[in-house]
Symmetry: C2
Subunit: 553 residues, 2 copies
């Protein structure tokens, strides 16, 4: 067997192994050294190949597909800086617990480090940002490929899920003599999941459940709320705020409530049980830290204060186990939370006026999206606005954001990936974050997934107006932090052939959503916003909510 055929046999067995372990999607970027990898994956009938040109966008698209499908997703690229472009999404996947399989073609080991073309040190290139690194050497036949595939998928998907890097050194010639042959699909090997043994929760009325970010819903958390009588402060990313598990104990306006310091200090809990990622709300995070006891149920050990008891297990399994020994303790604590939450929500809910606000976007979208849609928020302002202004409801919305590393990069591609496998989807993203991943729109042109992209256009870095940098003089602030770019994204839409509307009123906005629902595919809506005005509107709403919370005493 020739060198090329031996390598191809290995890669075909690897592709079959990935398919057997549940992989269905592969994001492929063209390249020369990666030729046999691309051919092997494309020849595996169980795998769908998504083609991309920018590896950075490709990896974020894969992240979206993995989130949308709850399956591990492979990414293929050629050697050199192509691999380096995978790092941002790899870092996000590592911190967000998303299983990616990075298959990077490489030059053979003997030429590494001596100036050979497109040859960089890819060995452990992602260092601690992957769960496992394997470099099986230049392949000489199919042996070992199935085992490697199984281990890679097992490691990537085991809690806390994350990326795995398989580096594949390949020698020329790269093109095999026969491209097609019958695939061999080994039988799948599902992973066992442990049921943890845990101590019971204390009997107290002053208990709080925080549902943090989780990509899959953990309905046992609302059962636990019923069993304990404790309110659930539901982060929008918890998959509990909008869906059939919604109950009167699931609260959504805690951020506004806890900005009122009197309420916050009088309502300090005896115990906080947080499931999943830390909450988006800074006010909630700081308040929870002040609780006497905090339990964090998270296989990712995400406890940045380093003061909680971390139970590194599956949230749903733990909530279910805790229900058994729980009983409610009478008192007015939960009722007072429910009242404050409802009163704050009453103030926060957008009015009937026709003046567009950044705050009104999420409520409006939540109303307009069909049941079962995905709703994504970019980092920086949109995810915070989603936390503040997305009301709880029984309609199911899959609510997502890249909160592993909170980057503004790759957001467009992630949303396109989600929409490609779990449509329809809507994304709300700021203009700088949108710009950062404009290249990701090539996937919209190619695959036209059912995605509405709402760009909040305030020509710059809106969030800095809310932070301490806003105290700087305007001469320093605008060039270094405001960073206006003056880009008219209608041209970007034209480049990728996407329908685009710049809306001025809510009526326009709703019309754009309706047009997207009717037409399908990927549409863009730009919501113009003035940074200073939006800041004033936010402050005024928070002040009114605080007043309402104080009044409900």
């Amino acid at each position: 067997m020739s060198q090329a055929d031996a390598a191809y046999a290995y890669l075909r067995a690897l592709a079959a192994g990935l398919a057997a372990c549940g992989v269905r999607d592969v994001c492929v970027c063209p390249g020369s050294r990666s030729t046999p990898v691309a051919l092997a994956l494309a020849s595996q009938p169980a795998l769908h190949a998504w083609m991309h040109l920018d590896e950075r966008s490709a990896a974020y698209f894969a992240l979206g597909v993995a989130k949308g499908s709850h399956r591990p997703v492979a990414v293929v690229c050629t050697s050199g800086t192509a691999v380096a472009n995978l790092l941002p999404a790899t870092v996000e996947a590592h911190h967000a617990g998303v299983p990616l399989l990075l298959l990077t073609a490489d030059r053979p080991p003997e030429v590494r480090g001596w100036g050979a073309a497109q040859t960089i040190d890819q060995v452990k290139l992602f260092s601690g940002h992957v769960k496992w690194f394997a470099d099986p050497g230049v392949p000489g036949g199919a042996e070992g490929a199935a085992s490697l595939a199984r281990r890679a998928v097992a490691v990537a998907t085991a809690p806390f899920a994350g990326p795995v890097h398989i580096n594949l050194p390949l020698r020329e010639p790269l093109v095999p003599s026969v491209v097609d042959a019958d695939p061999v699909v080994p039988s799948p090997a599902p992973l066992p999941h442990d049921a943890p043994e845990l101590p019971p929760l204390p009997a107290t009325e002053r208990g709080i459940i925080i549902a943090g970010g989780m990509d899959a819903p953990a309905p046992a958390i609302t059962e636990l709320a019923a069993a304990t009588g404790w309110p659930v402060l539901a982060d929008p990313l918890s998959q509990l705020r909008c869906g059939p598990h919604h109950s009167s104990l699931v609260l959504d306006s805690y951020d506004a409530c806890l900005r009122e310091s009197g309420f916050a200090s009088s309502m300090l809990p005896d115990i906080v049980v947080r499931f999943g990622a830390p909450p988006t709300s800074k006010a909630l995070g700081e308040w929870a830290r002040a609780a006497r006891r905090q339990i964090v149920v998270d296989p990712g050990w995400r406890d940045p204060d380093l003061r909680a008891e971390v139970w590194p297990h599956d949230p749903n399994a733990v909530a279910l186990a805790l229900c058994a020994g729980a009983r409610p303790v009478a008192g007015g604590y939960a009722a007072r939370w429910q009242r404050a939450d409802a009163d704050a929500r009453g103030v926060i809910a957008p009015g009937d006026g026709d003046h567009l606000t950044e705050m009104g976007i999420f409520p409006c979208l939540a109303e307009a999206l069909p049941d079962g849609s995905a709703l994504l928020a970019g980092n920086s302002m949109p995810v915070r606005d989603m936390d503040s202004f997305l009301p709880g409801m029984e309609k199911t919305l899959r609510v997502l954001s890249n909160r592993g590393a909170n980057g503004i990069d790759g957001v467009v591609s992630t949303a396109l990936g989600v929409a490609a496998v779990a449509p329809p989807a809507a994304l709300v993203v700021g203009d700088i974050s949108f710009y950062h991943d404009m290249n990701g729109l090539l996937a919209a042109k190619r695959y036209a997934p059912d995605l509405l992209i709402v760009v909040v256009q305030n020509d710059g870095g809106g969030i800095f107006s809310y932070l301490s940098q806003a105290s700087l003089s305007q001469d320093t602030f605008e060039p270094l932090f405001g960073t206006p770019h003056g880009l008219d994204f209608a041209h970007a839409a034209a480049l990728y052939g996407l329908p685009h509307r710049r809306v001025e009123t809510w009526q326009d906005f709703r019309g754009a959503v309706t047009a997207w629902r009717a037409g399908g595919g990927t549409h863009m809506v730009e919501v113009p916003s003035d940074r200073a005005r939006s800041l004033a509107e936010h402050r005024s709403v928070w002040a009114a909510a605080a007043e309402a919370v104080r009044a409900c005493g």
Copy 2:
């Protein structure tokens, strides 16, 4: 002194130290955690801040500024995936020997790894791809900053130059109480350069000098050619093909000559002395490998065949040292090379027809560009076409390409960086490479450097038609390797407000160059090309050149 003021004092001293060591340019991306770093650098009068929004583009722009100015350039970004976006350009700088100073803001060490917002493991994130990593801890005052700056610049600029990573953990509050104060500029500390002691070259007429890629010209190489009588096969990136050092011993058509196997085998040299990076020409690289003896003069140890004597010293210093003991040996070897080279060039030179070809772009540009211009080629096809078709001349052209890791990413930003500090410049880039770094065009909108961007538009991966992948069936080839995207880059030009022409004839092309020279700033020219036709044209020229070389035999 408050925490914020202590950190700011440190960062101002760091900025002053960088300025004292010769840093003049800083590429800054906005962010919150990096606030005091940005403020400190912006307040240093000796530093010019270039603002960017996409960190990937920013780092490649910095690479271009460093190449254009022959000075180390700093890059500033915030914590999280922002840092990960610096990796591609860092890898390129590491392999190309370009001094970059990566100043990355970080969260304080105690929260790393526990799910804190925008907190990833930045410690040694670039692992072996930087020459030095420093994490000085959360700064508590100015002490140590000047030393750190001096060491960072010294390490980055010492041969073989490359990137250095300084990770800067910062605690809130981030904004200092006073932003401006008088800068303290310590005195500069230039590095000593060793003059190596080397054995003399053997006396033979069958000697070849290969001038490989070097960012700075090494005029002693042509002196060495005169002293030995050996031909210089001058890679376009050697800075010797186009400039006042050009001589009759400097040859440019070796690639076409060596494709003729009879010529190649009869002209095998006794010794090859290569200066700088491996040559672009694959034919030349393979031929040199067959020489009895090969010396590689390169502080970067770029000897992918692992069979040369590597002298890791400065090329110009070595060439100068070797001149002393050299003497020419009589014979017809050099004259035969000169004849073949001239005859091949006669065939290769573009005709007078008006039909646009990819091959004709470099000769046309070389004629049209003013003396002292920079000429950049993208990777994949353009740099190979430049090697084949750019004729030697006495006009000075600064000829550049990202050949450290040969990536197609970041090329637009690198060219903008070069043009920003060493205008005017022209870039020839393929459509996929152009797409990959379209975000880099924001710097064109912001700074309008004097750059002509020539996009060779064949709607896909043109180079694969020249490689073994071309043997695949069209059904497999087009989606996996041809990867047509159908993008009309006129929209990209409109997005960034750049003049754009799609040319159909050489007259159009020359008109576009003239319009750019007259108007200045950044212009785009698209040269449409058909992949199959261009392949046939290349093959026909190579066949004719081989015929000419055989005939002169």
